[in-house]
Amino acid sequence: MREVAVVGVGMHPFGKFLDKSLSDLARVAVWNALQDASVPAKDIQLAYVGNSIGGLITGQEGIRAQTILGPSGFGGIPMVNVENACASASTAFRGVWLEIASGLYDVGLALGVEKMFLEDRARTISALISVSQIELSKLGMQFVGESAMRCRRYMRRYGGTKEDLALVAVKNSYNGSLNPYAFHRKPYSLEEVLNSPLIAEPLHLYMTSSIADGAAAAVLCAKDALSRYDAKRSISIAGCALKSGRFRLSDPLDTEVDSTITLTANIAYEQAGMEPKDIDVAEVHDAMSPIELISCEDLGFCKKGEGVRYLKEGRTKITGDIPVNVSGGLCARGHPVGATGIAQLAEIVWQLRGEAGPRQVAGAKVGMCEDSGGVLVDGDNAAFTNIILKK
């Protein structure tokens, strides 16, 4: 396997853009990434496009990669359509990484893009619900409620109050207020979070990610081909893992069974030759912000049951020892499902280069991105990725 680097990242800001199509959103992210990489578009040898619900939203099934990238000038190269719930973009990124690591290609493009705002809001909600296994959604499972029940299992085992859970949203909304690509840029107080509408006990509106339009892209290049470009700002891919949800003998929140987040991270740690203490900054998949506490434990940043204390001590703040979701995470940045994974990677690339402006983590050299999405009837998520980048 050859070593592979990220040479450029770019985004279309996340938000509400009723007049923009998937292709319009993608074009901005792709050309920002190419410009950032100083890589001519004609050098791109292949592209993977992550998107989750665009078929139900636009009616365009089967060939969204080709139809989204065509208007940006791309054709003739290998293109792969990737659909993998909230891990669609990170799975697309992994595909490009593998193609280059294998030696088949030198330079490739990974794109994540999602269009969620329509005049017809019900269509978006129906599309989102379809990302849970149909045995659950047809019986009335509401996905915020599913996370709410995970939070309740966590509180049953380890204690913690609703106020403790809300503090994650307070931290991340502040981080998001510093991010020009974030949808929601208002820092919330604890009172504002707890006074926002109740969605499913203990989760209030400001503790949940919002639907959004957006796109994020990354240009990847083999390290042995880097001399063609400006290699000084390149960031190495140290680990890149993908797993699917599985049947578990018991729930990791009730027992000592490893979660699939832990098993996926273990692969990435092993590939990178690293441990949790080596991570300087992390983007974790907080589709509902308190899930960040559980994920920090599962990723090994702190011990089981210590997530709340760790948060309250400020360890996950921008100035802490493992800052988590410095971008604002999914709740502040917005969660265009199939774009989120590469938005996380873009944030980590900016952090490791020292280009993150007011939310810069001092001296960050290694960063992690974790995604988990979809809900299976077994109670596990469906798709998991874990990617470690290093300076």
Binding site: G140, M149, R156, F247, D251, V377
Partner: protein, 150 residues
């Protein structure tokens, strides 16, 4: 045009199951309704919904259908205040632990969603009934659980 006749027949029915293969509906007074599980004869583990290969052993030919208990206990629950299409908030959703092992997602009926009488560990019993109506106003039948008061 056999498939068209099939569609027509389904449309005439008063109700239909929200999902095929998960519920046995009582066929008469001597029969009872239950959830259909799958049991692995090799390792003894029970799955819901049933699967065709054991997800632990991964060998062929070890699975058989079994009826699941109608009494379980609430693992955990939440009150949903924003409902998906076709459902009406507030309602209670939960995971129910069945004695055979499966932890089953279910709506909870027969209790006040805004009342405080529901608790983790409470005993609940299976109810087969209308989950919601489809776009044509036809009843969609599924399963729910309701508190027994114990």
């Amino acid at each position: 045009m056999e498939w068209r006749q099939g569609v027509g027949k389904a449309a005439e029915q008063k109700h239909q199951l929200v999902l095929p293969g998960i519920i046995h509906e009582a066929t008469g007074p001597d029969d009872t309704s239950y959830l259909i599980g799958g049991k692995c004869e090799a390792c003894g583990r029970v799955f819901f919904p049933k699967c065709f290969v054991c997800r632990i052993c991964m060998n062929e030919g070890t699975m058989r259908e079994v009826p699941l208990s109608k009494i379980g206990a609430i693992d955990t629950f939440t009150v949903v205040h924003v409902a998906p299409l076709g459902f009406k908030a507030p309602y209670v959703q939960a995971y129910v632990d069945l004695p055979e092992g499966p932890r089953v997602f279910s709506l909870i009926t027969g209790c006040d969603p805004l009342g405080s009488d529901l608790r983790e560990g409470a005993e609940v019993e299976l109810v087969i009934g209308k989950i919601r109506e489809d776009e044509n106003g036809r009843d969609l039948i599924g399963y729910m659980f309701r508190p027994t008061g114990r």
